[in-house]
C-alpha cells in the first residue's frame, strides 16, 4: 500500500487496470471514459460497483463514508480519483 498522496493519473491507471481485468467490457484502457458513470456505461452492475468500492478502499487504505457513496462523489473515474486523493490527504 502506497502511503504517499498518489497522483490522479496513477489512481486512474490503477482503477482502469482493475476494471479491465475484473469486469471485461467493450472498452480498452484507451477507450474507457474517465468522466462517465461506469454503471450507466454498463461496465459495472450493482454488485460490480460494490466490488469496485472495496477494491478502492483496500488499495488505498481508506474507508469511504456512506454520505460520499453518491453519484456526485463517485459517479466516474475522475470523481473517484478525486475522492481517493481527498481521503488520502486527510490521512496526512
Amino acid at each position: 500500500m502506497n502511503l504517499s498522496l498518489p497522483q490522479t493519473e496513477q489512481i486512474i491507471s490503477t482503477m482502469v487496470g482493475y476494471i479491465l481485468s475484473q469486469h471485461p467490457s467493450k472498452f480498452t484502457a484507451e477507450t474507457l471514459p474517465h468522466d462517465q458513470s461506469l454503471l450507466e456505461l454498463g461496465v459495472l452492475d450493482s454488485a460490480g460497483v460494490i466490488e469496485f468500492i472495496v477494491f478502492v478502499e483496500t488499495q488505498w487504505g481508506i474507508e469511504i463514508s456512506d454520505e460520499d457513496i453518491t453519484k456526485e462523489r463517485m459517479g466516474s473515474l475522475d470523481k473517484m480519483a478525486a475522492l481517493v486523493r481527498e481521503y488520502r490527504g486527510r490521512k496526512g
Partner: protein, 437 residues
Amino acid sequence: MRLIDLTDYPSLRYENGSDDEVLDRALGTGALPAGQYAFARARDGSVYLVRDPVGCNKLFFGRLPGGDAVVANRIERLWHEGLPLAEIGSCPPGHVLRVTQAAIDRPVALDVCSIRAEPRLDPGEFAAGCRAVLESAFAALAQALAARQFVVCLSGGLDSSVVASFAARHLKGVVAASFTYLDDADLRRRALGAPVERLESASEDFRCAARVAAALELPLLPVVRPRQAVAAAVDASVRLCQDWRDFNVHCATVNLFLAQDIRAAFPGRKVVVLTGDLMNEYLCDYRAEEVDGTAYYKIPRVPLDRRRKYFVRGLDAGDREVGVFWGYGLTACQPYTVLAERYMRVPAPMLEQPDIKRTLNGPLLAPAAAPHVSRSKTRAQVGGKDLGTLGIYHRLGVGEGELKRVWQEQFPGESAAACEGLIQFGRYRLPPLAAGA
C-alpha cells in the same frame, strides 16, 4: 418552518414510549429503539426526522417552494405535493436528521453495521440470547396488539418457521399463510376443494410450510395463483415496493399475492402480518441465480463482512414488506428487527460455515416444527418449479429495463435519470447535508 406530515405507515416498537419520547431519548443518548418506525416532529423552528435502525419504514423528505418541510413514507406522496424527484431525499436508517431553514444536520447517526463482531462468539449462548430477545418482543406484541388478527407468512424455510414458532406460542388466533403457483388443472381441483399441499403442481416450499403450520397447530390460508397472474402484478409490485430492482420487485410480487388474499380473508379487520424477512441479510444467506443462462441477483465478490454490510445497509432501499402490505391496509411486522445488533456480532469466519443459519437459529424453532423445515430455502421468490417468480419474470421478458419503465411511468415528465437517481449505490439518496454533518 411548517411541517406537512404525510406519513401514514404504522409504527411498531417493542417498548413503551411515544414518538416524542423516542426523539427526546435519541437526542439525549444517541440511542434509538428497535422496531419499525419513521416519523417527523416540528420543534423550535426545526423539523426532526427519525427512522428506525434497520430502515424497515421509509421516510422521504423535501422542501416546498415556500420553505415548508414535507415528509412521507411514500415517494409518490411527495411528488404529488409538487416536489420534483430530484428534490426528494431519504432519512437514512438509524438517523435523526434536523432540518432548519438554513441546513440539515444529523444529531443522531447509528449504523448497525458498525457494530464489532465477536471473534469468540458461542453459538449456544448466542441462540439463548436471541431466544430471550424474541420472547420479550413477542410478549410485547401480544400485549400491545391483543385485538389484532395475526397472520404469519410461511415460506417453508427456517426464518419464517422460527417467527411462526414464536407467534404460535405467544399470540392468540394466529393464522399461517403460504403461497404457491398452481397449474390450471390443479387450480380446478383446488376450486373443488382439494387440499393444496396434495396437488402435484404445488411447490415443495408450500408443502413444507403446510407441514410446519400443521405441526404448530396453525390454520393455513393457502394463497394460490396461476403463473399468468404475474404479468398483471408487475405494475403494483414496482409501485408498492418503491423500487425497480428485480430482487426486490420479485419478492414484492409474492407479498402482493399474499397481501391480496390476507386482506380478502379478513375484511375490515386490523391485521398484523408477521414475516421472516431480514435474517438473510444478517447472515449473508443469499446466492446468485441463473435462469436459461441468464444471471440474476449477482452477489458482490467481496469478503463476507463487507457483503453483510452491503446487504444490511441495502435494507434502506426498497419497500417489499411494509410498503406492499400497507397497500392493502395491513401492518407488516418484521420481528427480526430486534436482533439486528446481535447478528452483526457474528464474525465473518462463522458466516462462512455452510450450515451456520441452522446452527444459530435451529434452536429457536419449536421442536414440533423442526423436522418439516426446508433445508434449501433462501428467497421466497425462487421457490417452486422453474425458479418460481424469478423464472416467470424471466420468461415474460420483464427485466430491469421494463421495471424501470414502470417505475418512471408513475412520474410523468420526470427523466429516467431523475427516477433512477432516487436509489444510488443500493441506498435511497440522502438529502444534502450541511458540511461536516
